[in-house]
C-alpha cells in the first residue's frame, strides 16, 4: 500500500486514489457483513469456532469455584408465571406415569438398582430460590425443592473422580455436566416447584436444577442418570451450543 500511494504525485490523483481505496474497503466490509451466514457455514470457520468452544469449556472449568454459591432470593422475588421452555411447544409436554416410573442409575456407580418416586421423596430434601438464566438471554427466578445431587451421587456409590454425569430424559432430551458442577452444593435433583409436585411442564417427575449453569443444562423429565469418563454431549450441545455453559 505504501507503493500505491507514492506512485502518483499530483494531489488530485492521490485524493481520488484514496477515495477509491476507501470505498473499496468499505464495500468489502459490507460484503463480508452481508454474507455472515455463509461465513459461518464454511468448514474452516466451523473448525475454528468449535475449537474455540472447546477452549471455552476448559476456561470455564478453571473459572468455576466449586464453593461459590449462586445468589438466593426471597420468595417475593419469584417470577410469576415462571416461563415454560423446551425444544417443543407447551402443548406437546409429555405425561409421565408416576406410579410406574423408575429412575435408572448406571455407569460408574456401585448401586445400580432403579429408584421409585416414593424412595426418592424419602431422601433428605432441600429448597432454593435462584435465578434461572436462559441461553437466549432472559432470566426468571423460581423455587425448587429436592435432594442435593451430591447426596444422591454418594448414595448410589458414584465414582466421584469420574469426569461426567449424563442424563437421558423421557422426552428424548439428553445432556451432560462436569463432575465438579454435579457436586456443587446447590445442584439439586428437584421433585417440587413452588412447594407443589413438579408439574409436567416443569419436568415431572424430576429435573436437575443447576443455578451455576444455563437453563438448557437443567434437564427435565429425567429417566436415567449415568456416570462416565466419556463426554456424552447433549441435545443442544451437539448442535453447537457451548457444552460447559456455566454461570
Amino acid at each position: 500500500m505504501n507503493k500505491r500511494f507514492s506512485v502518483h504525485r499530483t494531489p488530485q490523483l492521490e485524493n481520488l486514489e484514496r477515495r477509491l481505496f476507501l470505498r473499496r474497503g468499505l464495500s468489502l466490509g459490507a460484503v463480508a457483513l452481508l454474507s455472515g451466514c455463509n461465513i459461518t457455514d464454511q468448514e474452516s470457520v466451523q473448525r475454528v469456532l468449535w475449537t474455540m468452544s472447546r477452549w471455552n469449556d476448559r476456561a470455564q472449568g478453571w473459572l468455576f469455584d466449586p464453593k461459590r454459591l449462586a445468589p438466593e432470593f426471597p420468595e417475593s422475588a419469584i417470577t410469576k408465571p415462571f416461563p415454560f421452555n423446551a425444544f417443543y411447544g407447551e402443548d406437546e409436554v409429555i405425561d409421565v406415569d408416576g406410579g410406574r416410573f423408575r429412575l435408572e442409575v448406571g455407569g460408574l456407580v456401585s448401586e445400580k438398582k432403579p429408584w421409585t418416586l416414593p424412595q426418592l421423596y424419602a431422601l433428605p430434601q432441600v429448597s432454593q430460590v435462584t435465578r434461572h438464566i436462559c441461553v437466549e438471554g432472559w432470566s426468571a427466578i423460581g423455587k425448587w425443592s429436592g435432594v442435593r445431587f451430591s447426596d444422591f451421587l454418594q448414595r448410589v456409590g458414584a465414582d466421584l473422580t469420574a469426569k461426567y454425569v449424563g442424563f437421558k430424559c423421557a422426552d428424548k432430551y439428553y445432556t451432560s455436566i462436569d463432575m465438579a458442577t454435579a457436586l456443587h452444593p446447590q445442584t439439586q435433583l428437584s421433585f417440587r416447584y413452588a412447594d407443589e409436585l413438579l408439574p409436567p411442564k416443569y419436568g415431572f417427575p424430576m429435573k436437575l436444577r443447576i443455578p451455576t449453569k444455563l437453563g438448557f443444562k437443567n434437564p427435565k423429565h429425567i429417566a436415567a442418570i449415568y456416570v462416565t469418563n466419556t463426554n456424552p454431549g447433549g441435545y443442544w450441545e451437539d448442535q453447537g451450543y457451548n457444552w460447559y455453559s456455566g454461570s
Binding site: 500500500m1 505504501n2 500511494f5 494531489p11 488530485q12 492521490e14 485524493n15 484514496r18 477515495r19 481505496f21 476507501l22 474497503g25 466490509g29 457483513l33 452481508l34 455472515g36 451466514c37 461465513i39 459461518t40 457455514d41 475454528v48 469456532l49 468449535w50 474455540m52 468452544s53 471455552n56 470455564q60 473459572l63 468455576f64 469455584d65 461459590r68 454459591l69 449462586a70 445468589p71 435465578r131 438464566i133 436462559c134 441461553v135 437466549e136 438471554g137 432472559w138 432470566s139 443455578p211 451455576t212 443442544w236 448442535q239 453447537g240 451450543y241 457451548n242 456455566g246 454461570s247
Partner: protein, 198 residues
Amino acid sequence: MRVHPLVVRVTHWINVLAVLMMVTSGWQIYNASPIFSFAFPAELTLGGWLAGALQWHFAAMWLLAVNGLVYVTYGIASGHFRRKLFPLSPLGVLRDIREALRGRLAHDDLSTYNAAQRAAYLALIAMLAVMVASGLVLWKPVQLYWLGSLMGDYEGARLLHFFAMSAVVLIVLAHVIMVIVVPRTFPTMVTGRARRAS
C-alpha cells in the same frame, strides 16, 4: 511525517475486526430474546442462528480482550495516551463539535487530535471497557457476582451491555463519517505516515 505508531495501527485494525464480529453476533444473540420491541435485521447479523452467534461472540471476545489489553498497556506505558488524548477541556470539546458541524474543523496536522477527537476516542475506550465488564457479568453471573452487584446483577448487566453497545456503534459511525469527510486520514492508519494537506 510519522503519525501512528505500529502498535496503534495493528491493534486498531484487529479491533475493527473484533468489534465488527462482536456487534454483529451480539445483534443475533439479542434477537433470540429482544429486550425492547424491535429486532436487528437478520442481514446485519453474524452466526446464522443463536448457537452460531454465540460461538462467534465467545471466540471473538478473546481477540477483543487480548488486543484491547495490548493497546491499553501500550497506551499507558509508552505515554501515547497522555500525549495524544490529554489534556482534554470540556469547552474545547464543545467548540470543536460546533466547528465540525459547520464543516470548519481544523484538521491540518494529523499528528495532533483536536478536542472532539480526544473526547470521542476516550469515550470509545471507556465504552469498550464497560462492554467487557458487563459482558463478563453476563457470561459468569455467579462467579463474578461481585462485579455484577455494581451494575444491578444479571438483568442490570444486560441493559448496560445493550446501551454501551449503542454508544460504541454511534461513536464508530461518527468516526467513519469523519474519515469519509477527511479521507486522507485513512491511509495514515495503514502506513503510519501523513502527507501535508493539499
